[in-house]
């Protein structure tokens, strides 16, 4: 219920939201959890395995039970912790993991079968009969598994990611963190202070402690104001640091718009990568649960959470509250409840020396042995001395001590160390380079000591980085730390729960140990304790304590499992921010792009580039019609194709020739100026890496091309060769792929077309495989005479800014000659007809010999891959080598299909090769293919069997030379 006064809420403003369709009232400052409790709603979800009723356990990010789906329809977000979700007017929330309703969940039948669902049950069940797995068990389990559900439509607002840099990253804005940021900020260091909550202050926002003579929350606000005014300090609230990565890099998740109604353009989350020279881990400590029979009922809460709801949100979580804990904090809880007008029905204090109280019964040396109330607590059963007693309570506030949040200090493999005196795991020293834990994350539990430790950590970090630490300025604060009970695990007649979400009990952990899974890493996986969305924040220490007792280990829990990022759940939409849709990779468009899209050419991806696939004309109904027409157009008239996307590397220097001799199989040093040579580059293991052309522009000046897809790889390879393998060579090279727009002009009318673009057409007389400077439409360009189509062919290159204009002009000219533009489909058919290879053939498994180019491997020089290519296995004539194929009955061949001798069974062991490229040849009016076949060139004329099991093709083919048109090449040499 809502208290009449107090709380950090704006009582002037009324908000309302829905929970499972029911309207709930709230104020700005409320979380969904505080508002639900204010309305007396305790049942908020169902546990994962047994579908037991679940209530709000905590007031923070560690909440394991109150998981809701926020929003309906596109963009709805499942598994949101109600304790973190701030309320906005009109917010829609739904409980999860229940059917048909939260109060009547039929899946709770699982609880009756719980004896079959103990530790490791999935290794022992659903195995018989075998056939039932796929047909019955798996579909049922699949439907039952999981918590909330995503909507397929991500809704408005994309998440974002960002980079930040600082000298000091302070993780946590409680007392220790505030002081660390203050010390370093005043010293002039660049500080980022990251706090997961909506405001700075940490535990001070939930307690009634005074700091520096002021209420803690007010003191925190004044420090926050000073920090906000420092230009060198950046405060990031609603930002949880999620992980410590190598090199001083930290991940952090910021809630940018998750606390507001979704809006277009506004991210819900931002994932930050923060690079910090130093860091202070002031992440605080979380209250440890008490483990006892019946401890999972809605209404059982953490005492620190009860105080938070009273003080920060002015909400009493019950009308009759009992407390199970010890020391000052337990008393303070009782007092604060009484202040709020709540009846305190008992303080069960495990300490046998606990003193009496005026206004409520105290049970010294007592502990809880059971609870009652199916969908919400109504009764607590206790044992004290030799007596058992029932206490009325609709809320039980439990306090089992404090767990320092050491996670981030352990993200690089270190394990925390159990400190028996403080009854806590502490972060080991130096576990993350540059990171210093401070405050309760470091096992320091009094406010005064936290302030001191935080200040010191910030000051030392600042000094380490060359700033002058300011004079210490430590406010007065509480010097006494809270007490921890001697035990936090109590035996009782009923099930005692450890992991509330995955329904793991103390019995499961003992069973795990009994079955031999007694190491923490094994126990975790065997029982699934600690594998829920809270990643064990509320159960780890308790489970490890049970495990230690079960395995006879004295002195507390022996050790933990490995800590890994993320510390809090991170939506994948935040980690992958910016990469949705076309943001995934850059798109590269060439000079002709706008014009070809205007023409309606469908585009195809080639690496990051988009290239026109074909240019449909009126009346053409299929891509094949357009492709066939374009092929005929090139063979009989003239075609124009944009080839700008191929990699072009300009190589210069006194040792340019020697460099190229080292990377190509052939000698480029013997190439004459003005000529072009086809070249192969091998990998160091002897296989072909890439092919292209090499043009000599001068004594020490070459221009080479690569395939579109391998351009980047070849540049990296060149960097490796020049800087690591041959630093003796005086050579430089740079990519000019982007500097030139280049168009292939191919066909019998190629010269005729180009003449119309050149005042001086002398360049058109260059020999086949030649290169020269040429003025094109008055612009200084280059002309290459090379052919990928097998027809008379040129490539004309102009500086890229002229490319768009030149394309339109060239295509218009081609059309006036009865030709036109052609795309990738036709380009491919033309080259297959000629047997010219692409990466379909040189796919990383082919040698130069395999593709019939063994003669291109020079024996007179060393080059990358030469030695490996000489190995027996790579020169064996029995290898699969390039041939052409013509299907006997005009059937369709497909790339990837396998070849067999006639009469051999079509099984993998009998495969003698496979098809690499297949197409319909418009020129020949039949299908053709290129393939690798064992001893291929020795089997010309043989008929082999082609089988494609995926498409059900099984046809005979004639093996032929891998050149179907003009084998002598007379047409391109015209």
């Amino acid at each position: 219920m809502r208290l009449a006064t107090g709380g950090m809420i704006d009582r002037e403003t009324q908000l309302s939201f829905r929970f499972d369709g029911r309207i709930v009232h709230a104020h700005p400052g409320d979380t969904v959890a505080s508002a639900l409790l204010a309305s007396g709603i305790r049942l908020v979800g169902r546990s994962f395995k047994y579908h037991r009723p679940r209530g709000i356990l905590t007031a923070g990010s560690e909440e394991p039970n109150a998981l809701l789906t926020v929003g309906k329809g596109p963009g709805r977000e499942p598994n949101v912790r109600a304790t973190v979700q701030e309320v906005w007017d009109g917010l829609e929330t739904q409980s999860q993991n229940r059917w048909p309703a939260l109060s009547l969940d039929l899946m709770a039948v699982n609880d009756l079968a719980s004896p079959f669902f103990g530790a490791g049950f999935y290794y022992k069940t659903f195995m018989w009969p075998r056939k039932a797995w796929e047909a019955l068990y798996e579909p049922v389990i699949r439907r039952a598994a999981g918590l909330g559900a995503l909507h397929r439509d991500p809704g408005p607002g994309e998440d974002e990611k960002a980079f930040a840099f600082c000298d000091l990253l302070v993780v946590g804005g409680g007392p220790a963190g505030l002081m660390a940021a203050l010390a370093a900020g005043r010293a002039g260091a660049r500080v980022i202070l990251a706090e997961e909550d909506t405001r700075l202050g940490g535990r001070l926002l939930a307690e009634r402690e005074h700091v520096g003579g002021q209420p803690g929350a007010e003191w925190a606000a004044s420090v926050a104001a000073e920090l906000a005014a420092m230009p060198n300090v950046r405060i990031m609230t609603r930002t949880a640091v999620t992980g410590a990565y190598d090199g001083g890099t930290y991940g952090a998740l910021e809630r940018v718009g998750a606390h507001l109604a979704p809006e277009a353009d506004r991210p819900r989350y931002a994932f930050w990568r923060i690079t910090a020279k130093r860091a202070v881990l002031a992440a605080g400590a979380l209250e440890r649960a008490m483990t006892f029979s019946g401890n999972d009922r809605p209404g059982v809460m953490m005492a620190s959470a009860v105080r938070a709801y009273l003080n920060r949100w002015a909400v009493a979580p019950g009308k009759e509250v009992a407390i199970f804990g010890t020391g000052r904090a337990a008393r303070a809880t009782a007092e604060q409840l009484l202040d709020a007008g709540v009846t305190v029905t008992g303080l069960i204090d495990p300490d046998p020396g606990a003193r009496e109280a005026q206004d409520y019964p105290v049970f010294p040396g007592g502990h809880v042995i059971g609870t009652h109330g199916r969908q919400g607590l109504s009764l607590v059963k206790i044992s004290h001395g030799l007596v058992e007693q029932n206490i009325r309570a609709d809320c039980l506030a439990t306090a089992g001590g404090w767990n320092p949040q050491v996670n981030i200090a352990c993200h690089q493999g270190a394990r925390p160390v159990w400190d028996a005196e403080r009854a806590a795991f502490l972060p080991p020293e130096g576990s993350v380079p540059g990171l210093t834990p401070a405050g309760s994350a470091n096992g320091t539990f009094s406010t005064a000591a936290c302030l001191t430790e935080g200040w010191r950590a910030g000051a030392i970090a600042a000094e380490d980085m060359g700033h002058k630490a300011p004079a210490a300025d430590l406010p007065e604060a509480e010097e006494e730390a809270g007490a921890t009970p001697a035990s936090w695990v109590y035996e009782g007649p009923g099930r005692a729960w450890l992991d509330f979400q995955n329904d793991v009990t103390t019995k499961d952990v003992k069973q795990s140990a009994a079955e031999g899974f007694s190491a923490p890493e094994h126990m975790k996986r065997y029982t699934t304790q600690g594998m829920a969305t809270d990643q064990g924040k509320m159960s780890n220490v308790n489970a490890l304590s049970v495990l230690a007792a079960a395995t006879g280990v004295a002195g507390g829990p022996a050790g933990t499992t490995t800590y890994r990022p993320p510390y809090v759940p991170v939506p994948i939409s935040a980690m992958g921010a910016g990469a949705r849709g076309s943001g995934f990779a850059p798109i590269r468009r060439s000079a002709s792009d706008a014009a070809v899209r205007e023409r309606g050419a469908p585009m195809v991806e080639a690496g990051l580039w988009y290239r026109a696939s074909y240019f449909p004309r009126a009346g053409e109904k299929t891509w094949r019609e357009a492709c066939d027409r374009e092929v005929r157009m090139v063979r009989h008239k003239v075609g124009v194709c944009d080839v700008s996307t191929l990699g072009k590397i300009d190589v210069q220097g006194p040792d340019a020739a020697a460099f190229l001799d080292f990377v190509y199989t052939g000698a480029m040093s013997t190439l004459k100026t003005g000529r072009v040579r086809y070249g192969l580059m091998l990998r160091e293991d002897g296989y072909v890496m890439d092919d292209g052309t090499c043009a000599r522009l001068g004594d020490s000046h070459y221009l080479i091309t690569t395939t579109t897809a391998a351009a980047g790889q070849v540049m990296q390879h060149f960097d490796m060769v020049a800087q690591v393998l041959r630093p003796d060579l005086d050579v430089t090279f740079t990519s000019v792929t982007e500097a030139w727009a280049q168009f292939a002009v191919a066909g019998p009318q190629a010269r005729v077309l180009l003449r119309t673009l050149m005042e001086d057409d002398t360049p058109l007389q260059i020999p086949f495989m030649g290169v020269t400077d040429a003025r094109v439409m008055g612009v200084p360009g280059r002309l290459f005479r090379i052919s990928f189509s097998g027809e008379l062919g040129f490539e004309v290159a102009v500086p890229v800014a002229y490319g768009a204009a030149l394309w339109r002009l060239i295509v218009a000219q081609a059309e006036s000659l009865g030709g036109g533009a052609y795309g990738m489909e036709a380009l491919n058919v033309l080259r297959v007809e000629k047997g010219f290879i692409t990466h379909a053939e040189i796919d990383g498994r082919a040698t130069a010999g395999d593709i019939g180019l063994g003669s291109m491997m020079s024996t007179r020089k060393d080059y990358i891959g030469r030695a490996a290519a000489e190995r027996e296995g790579l020169t064996d004539p029995g290898r699969e080598r390039l041939v052409g194929l013509k299907p006997v009955d005009g059937a369709r061949l497909t790339a990837g299909g396998f070849l067999f001798s006639r009469g051999a069974a079509a099984e993998r062991v009998n495969a003698e090769g496979y098809v690499t490229s297949a197409c319909h040849s418009a020129t020949l009016g039949r299908d053709i293919a290129l393939a690798f076949l064992k001893r291929g060139p020795e089997r010309i004329g043989e008929v082999v069997r082609f089988v494609d099991h995926l498409r059900g093709t099984d046809v005979l083919c004639l093996v032929c030379e891998p050149t179907f048109i003009d084998p002598a090449g007379g047409r391109m040499r015209a």
């Binding site: 960002a162 980079f163 940018v256 507001l260 353009d265 008055g778």
Partner: protein, 179 residues
């Protein structure tokens, strides 16, 4: 013979909140890569011709007649002027005119927007005017240079100009939409 028109790298520039965009006009661009042992000689001759040094890594040198921008070990772009004749033979000269998409971004949101795309600390303290970095903008290889207190020059491959605008548009709107 009619002249071909020169297309700009950006067909259109969007209006964005917190940022103003303009295409950088570099004019003629030549990559200058000194051969072994020639760096000193080239540098003093460049001083005479343009009043500029061959830039050290991370430097952008601007003069009245030209600009020199470091783009990699042993590589710099000479921007806005033709390379003097004597450079040939002592350095590799490679025409790179038009190969870049050059965008000037300016405005109060510029550092916040770039923080979403560039994994380098661009704050004025560590990245002052005249500093350039070869880094990434999103997934694109880029040069980023600070030209003023709230002005940066972004350079990516010309073919990626659309993706640059796409990334800037998305992030500028997201920064502006923050509560």
């Amino acid at each position: 013979m009619p002249r071909l028109f020169e297309a700009p790298a950006f067909a259109e520039l969007p209006a964005l909140p917190g940022l103003s965009l303009a295409e950088g006009q570099w004019g003629v661009v030549t990559e200058v890569a000194p051969f072994k042992g020639e760096l000193e000689g080239i540098s003093s001759a460049l001083q005479e011709a343009f009043g500029l040094d061959y830039p050290a890594p991370g430097e952008s040198q601007t003069g009245d007649k030209a600009r020199l921008l470091w783009v990699g070990p042993g590589r710099a772009l000479l921007i806005g002027a033709e390379p003097p004749e004597w450079l040939g033979g002592r350095a590799a000269l490679t025409g790179q005119t038009g190969a870049q998409a050059v965008l000037l971004v300016d405005g109060p949101a510029v550092e916040a927007v770039l923080a979403r795309l560039v994994p380098v600390d661009l704050s004025a303290e560590v990245f002052p005017e005249g500093r350039t970095a070869r880094t990434l903008i999103g997934h694109m290889t880029a040069s980023v240079t600070r030209l003023g207190p709230a002005t940066f020059e972004l350079v990516v491959m010309r073919s990626m100009s659309g993706s640059l605008l796409h990334d800037l548009t998305r992030t500028a709107r997201q920064v502006a939409a923050r509560p």
